[in-house]
């Protein structure tokens, strides 16, 4: 019997490119004297990316590959996956569906609760592109089902989905200006900056993935304005470096709101309504001049500590993405939890929470001891030299951390 060949997650190959380009962008921005990056904010973006990818593993475990199921049960025909014409049409169809998914992601509370993560950064850089939701998988798939019913095979669907996703990476930068006629056809850094803005003219604009033509056709296009600085982020700022809270904060808001609503229809309506509710009133004016960005004055040494911890998380993410999770589901779940806990501890440290230091030291002890003593690290038989190196790193981290005084929240703000 032939063994079923598993598909390698293409994100594994993209991760080194992401890391390298983020560093290059940060270096170029620094050389030009631009404040494009803030280390805690960028690390939070990267942590969101990490959680988004590793929770995808849980999704895979749950066997909820809805697209494939709908394709198997309801497809009209089997389109050839090896035809160039079908490939191009599938990419166009995907981009069209993406436009509507993205648009509804901004205009419907329950979908905005998932997508808000991507907009919660007040900086606009390549790391922001990686600030992805972990809960978007709950409803996002619905928008692509017409492709399954038409008969776009799952392999082709996943190929065009990855292309569409990866295309959107490079547009998250302030270092590339306007690109002439391209700005009118494709999604480019210029028109995507508008999408991430809080300025009045930026709200609910430019939803496209690859083609900006959809926005032009459906009336949601806005051109970047010369001389009006774009303020990035969301109107109700997140003000946290905790990636789990970043994923859940808007759900919590909606939950509270629906609890306050009277009657089941009103409660349901909260989740279906647009952010801000069903109203024909114009959007509240946003004064760009008075905007103050979120800054916890995290000490420089703590920023670099957090960056180093992140550097150790990256190989773990690669490992879990490459794992055959169905062969060892409990291991996979545990590994996902370890990674999420790491990002939360580091996030809390960056926020200057008093409890963070205790959490982080406990995590270091646990992870360090497990890596050094367990026969294998979630299937990876680490060489002795690596075990010793990591043990030394953990001990040094513990020692350094024990000597640090983490300023509390009030102090951090007051600095």
């Amino acid at each position: 019997m032939r063994k079923k060949k598993s598909i390698v997650n293409p994100i594994i190959y993209a991760i080194p490119v992401f890391m390298l380009t983020v560093l290059i962008e940060a270096g170029l921005a620094r050389r030009r004297g631009l404040t494009v990056y803030d280390i805690p904010d960028a690390l939070t973006s990267l942590h969101h990316g990490v959680i988004s990818e590793v929770t995808g593993v849980l999704w895979k475990l749950a066997g909820l590959g809805t697209y494939a199921l709908v394709y198997t049960n309801f497809h009209a025909t089997e389109l050839p996956a090896d035809s160039w014409l079908i490939f191009v049409l599938a990419l166009l169809a995907y981009d069209f569906c993406y436009y509507w998914q993205h648009r509804m992601g901004h205009e419907m509370n329950v979908l905005w609760a998932a997508h808000v993560v991507h907009h919660s950064s007040e900086y606009y850089n390549l790391a922001t592109a990686l600030r992805q939701t972990s809960t978007g998988r709950f409803f996002g798939w619905v928008f692509y089902l017409p492709m399954a019913v038409i008969g776009v095979p799952p392999t082709l669907f996943f190929t065009v989905a990855v292309i569409d996703l990866l295309y959107q990476y490079w547009v998250h930068t302030e270092l590339i200006g306007r690109l002439g006629w391209l700005d009118r056809v494709l999604v480019t850094p210029s028109n995507h900056r508008v999408h991430h803005g809080q300025n009045d003219y930026c709200i609910d604009k430019n939803y496209g993935g690859i083609l900006i033509l959809w926005d032009r056709w459906f009336g949601t296009f806005a051109d970047e304005r010369e001389g009006e600085k774009i303020i990035y982020g969301i109107r109700k700022p997140l003000r946290s470096f905790n990636p789990v809270w970043g994923n859940l904060h808007y759900y919590a808001d909606l939950w509270r709101e629906s609890m306050r609503a009277v009657g089941w229809r009103a409660k349901l309506g909260v989740w279906l309504a647009p952010p801000g509710g069903w109203t024909d009133a114009p959007l509240a004016h946003f004064d760009t001049a008075t905007f103050v960005s979120y800054d916890r004055k995290t000490p420089s040494a703590m920023r670099w500590y957090a960056a180093m911890q992140y550097a150790l998380v990256v190989p773990c993410v690669v490992q879990i993405l490459a794992m055959d999770v169905k062969a060892a589901p409990m291991q996979a779940v545990l590994y996902v939890l370890v990674i999420i806990a790491t990002t939360v501890c580091v996030g809390l440290l960056l926020e200057g929470r008093q409890i963070a230091k205790k959490f982080e030291m406990f995590r270091l002890l646990l992870v360090g001891a497990a890596f050094a003593t367990m026969p294998d690290w979630f299937g990876f038989d680490a060489p002795t030299a690596l075990r010793i190196a990591l043990a030394v790193f953990v001990l040094a981290s513990l020692l350094w951390l024990s000597r640090q005084r983490v300023p509390n929240v009030a102090e951090a703000i007051a600095v």
Partner: protein
Amino acid sequence: MPVGAGDTLLNADALSDLALALVCGAVAVAHWRARPALAQASALFFVAASFGVLRFSGIAFALGPHRFFSLLAACAAFPLLAVAVRWPDDDIAKRANAAARFVLLFGAIGLAFHMTGFALWRDILPVVSVLVIAFAAIRTKNAHGIFGALLFIASLVVAALGQASAFSFGAFNATQAMHYLMAAGFALLAWPPGIKHAH
């Protein structure tokens, strides 16, 4: 003897779905602006029935889409219809945008349930929805509405009997009877002045 269904173009099964498609299409067009929830529910039935016409005419590619849109109609259009009739002043009934979101949410939930093996969901929702419609019609003493709801109930009963055995309803088989009863139900439910104001 029931009129048999075959693979020939526009056989009796296809004709029954054509009748349903025409009625639902007409209801959707007539109420598109004034009653968007009713119109969108009808539009979903129109799409399902249109694929049904092709499917019963022996066009193979229509089978999957017919089953898909029938599932959506059961899980999303029936509840939307119930909201449109029972709570006509609700945002979902009045705003096209809200009705579309309702379809999206209920469609997603319905599909997820169906895909994960809880197929009963697609049977429960239409029954509950039709009972809500009947309740609203009785409360408002609307004759069209009451008859429409009764026809819907009859169509669901026929569908259930048709699933269980080779059921026939006079000259029609279960599929055809269900389609005609639903078409008549839609026509009565949406007949002006209808039961727009349930309260």
